[in-house]
């Protein structure tokens, strides 16, 4: 198994951001609870979680707007825990964009450069470069209230990139955009990040957004980090029930371990009244209660009378037609429901399966996982 505390391409790199056992309390509420995290140069790192999970507080501590109650934060090896925001070598793009309403687009972008007293010629050049980067040259002389939401987002991005920070923090960067624009902007953000080679740390509550853009994701819950992994691993091998359910939909089947051979585990489950075979390399104890997780798209429909492990029979109770796929809810004899999806390959064709049909379902041992937490 690979070391998930580092991204695959940074085996020997030093972390650019080191968060060591950081805790932040407001009164007696633990907003961030003993979080440690290393982020490496060039990463597109996402802090993912639902509202109130502490992801924004963590980001605000990186920016310097909040001070940790305990723990230290290092940027590029330097302890910045007690530095005010205006002395930190990173920039942030705030959720509200926080464009200065009394300044033009140009002046907004030039603000940070003026603060570091960059000579005017160089500054003008930098502003032009930034305007071009996010393609808003036309709007340079406008005030923020004369811009659309998407244009404002670009100005905010340009302003926070203008000082060429090594690290850019982004708080819900796409939250205020509508769905179409959001999807399009996701790729642009990734392109800009790759082109400039900056480390991006993004806070988001949108799992799709995190999956699309990130090189690694830290899933947060109640101020703690639930799991840190590349998007694909997070999806395919969630470690906990929470992680499994947070991203995408999933079937969870309870059972207990009956046998383990090499990297194969057999689990007996009352819910399916049969045996499950799962690929799992970590050693488990016999009779241990475990949960097997199977994604709905990994499940296939097979002819009746099929036998073996990972095979269940049941009756279709619900069908949700989503356009690209349909989701079928199948009730097993034990009352347990299992979801599976089918791509709708043919338009308006006679549905191959319908309500109250009996179906037999199966999946591969390496298409499911065991939740260890």
């Amino acid at each position: 198994m690979t070391d998930v505390s580092k991204p695959a391409n940074a085996e020997h790199a030093q972390p650019i951001v080191r968060i060591e056992q950081v805790t932040k309390t407001f009164g007696n509420v633990y907003a961030v609870d003993d979080v440690s995290l290393n982020i490496y140069p060039g990463e597109f790192f996402s802090l993912l979680g639902s509202s109130g999970c502490g992801k924004s507080t963590l980001l605000r501590m990186l920016a310097g707007f909040e001070t940790p109650t305990h723990g230290r934060i290092y940027l590029d090896g330097q302890d910045v825990t007690d530095l005010p925001p205006y002395e930190r070598p990173l920039n942030i793009m705030l959720q509200s964009y926080a464009l200065f309403p009394h300044m033009t687009v140009e002046d907004n972008i030039a603000f940070g450069l003026k603060m570091e007293k960059m000579p005017k010629a160089e500054r003008d050049e930098r502003v032009r470069e930034m305007l071009a980067l996010v393609q808003i040259e036309k709007f340079a002389k406008r005030k923020p209230h004369q811009l659309s939401g998407g244009q404002r987002q670009r100005v905010a991005l340009a302003r926070s990139l203008a000082k060429h920070p090594k690290i850019l923090l982004l708080d819900e960067p796409l939250g205020a955009l509508d769905k179409k624009l959001r999807e399009q902007t996701q790729f642009e953000l990734v392109n800009i990040q790759e082109r400039l080679g900056i480390t991006f740390i993004v806070v988001t509550h949108d799992q799709e957004e995190a999956m699309t853009m990130s090189s690694r994701i830290a899933l947060m819950r109640d101020g703690r980090i639930e799991q840190v992994d590349a998007p694909r691993r997070l999806y395919e091998y969630p470690e906990s029930r929470f992680a499994a359910e947070f991203i995408g939909s999933i079937n969870l089947i309870d059972g207990h371990v009956v046998k383990q051979e090499d990297d194969q585990v057999w689990v007996q489950s009352e819910q399916i009244d049969g045996l499950l075979q799962v690929r799992h390399s970590q050693p488990l104890v016999n009779d241990m209660a475990v949960t097997v997780a199977v994604r709905p798209e990994k499940i296939q429909v097979v002819p009746a009378l099929s036998q073996g492990s990972n095979t269940v029979q049941g009756v279709i109770k619900e069908i949700a037609y989503l356009g690209d796929v349909s989701i079928y809810h199948v009730e097993l004899p034990s009352g347990k429901r299992v979801m599976f999806t089918q791509s709708n390959i043919q338009a308006l064709a006679e549905q191959p399966m319908t309500w109250n049909d009996s179906v037999t379902l199966t999946w591969q041992p390496n298409a499911c996982g065991i939740l260890v937490k």
Binding site: F65, F100, H145
Partner: protein
């Protein structure tokens, strides 16, 4: 619009019309009678502008007006500084010792009867003069100090509501881009709350210009403000010169308000136009 609202609207409009007539009738009567030839203010003696001429010759009124304007400008400027600080303290610092006391002290001067403010400040000034030797005697300085004190409460209210609506993240963004706190205040906060400061200043200016009671208490022999002159003359009954003075004040204020309103409407329209682009 629902049926119910439509049917009630004429009744409300009638109320409004009577209400505005009540508010503006007396002012209109002052204006009309200021052009009355007759000295007996209420008996019409034909059109004339002679009272305006006499008013402009009246040394006492002119010098009092000049003094009042000076006091109003100075006290309004100080009141804006103090009121803005108080507003920032109340909006920015949610918890500090003495917060509820400050809350009470900025709210109280707005409702406190002027006779109490006037008398209490006079007694304070006399005691200070006894002990510290300042402010020496009573006059312009003591009036300015008194006006600053009650006007700052109004400034606080105006600036506070603007500050409360100011997005905190603007200041955070500026700090993130390298601006130190003082720089943040002058480059970001101040320009954005400027309209409230202007409104607060004008309010403080007007309150000072308008004050009779407090000034009467804390003023000394040398300092007679415009309201004091007006009061002593209207106590003796209606006076055509005062009508002329009232007309000038009303016209000036109306022009200023119309101008301000015109700017606001124009900005609003411009915003709408730009947003619709």
């Amino acid at each position: 619009m629902s049926h119910a609202k439509k049917s009630r609207f004429p009744l409300l409009m009638t109320f409004l019309v009577f209400g505005y007539a009540f508010l503006y009738g007396p002012i209109l009567s002052l204006i009309v009678y200021s052009f009355n030839e007759s000295r007996l203010v209420t008996v019409w003696g034909g059109w004339s502008t002679k009272w305006y001429g006499e008013l402009l010759q009246n040394e006492q009124i002119l010098s009092a007006a000049w003094l009042s304007l000076k006091i109003a400008a100075i006290s309004a400027s100080f009141a804006v500084v103090l009121g803005t600080l108080a507003a920032m303290a109340l909006v920015r610092f949610k918890r500090f010792r003495g917060r509820s006391m400050l809350e009470i002290m900025v709210a109280a001067p707005m409702v406190m009867p002027e006779v109490i403010i006037g008398l209490s400040l006079l007694l304070l000034f006399m005691a200070m003069d006894d002990i510290l030797g300042w402010p020496e005697g009573r006059g312009q300085t003591t009036i300015v100090l008194a006006h600053m004190t009650f006007a700052m409460a109004y400034v606080t209210v105006v600036v506070r509501s603007r500050l409360a609506h100011l997005d905190n993240s603007l200041e955070e963004a500026a700090m993130d881009l390298g601006a130190r706190p003082l720089k943040v205040f002058f480059a970001i906060t101040l320009p954005i709350i400027a309209p409230a400061l202007v409104a607060g200043w004008l309010l403080a200016f007007t309150l000072s210009l308008d004050d009779l009671v407090v000034a009467s208490f804390v003023s000394g022999p040398g300092a007679t403000t415009l309201p004091m002159v007006v009061y002593s003359s209207v106590r003796l009954g209606v006076s055509p010169q005062i009508n002329a003075l009232a007309t000038i004040i009303v016209v000036l204020v109306s022009l200023a308000v119309l101008f301000a309103g015109w700017i606001m409407v124009r900005q609003e329209k411009q915003k709408q136009r730009e947003n619709s682009q």
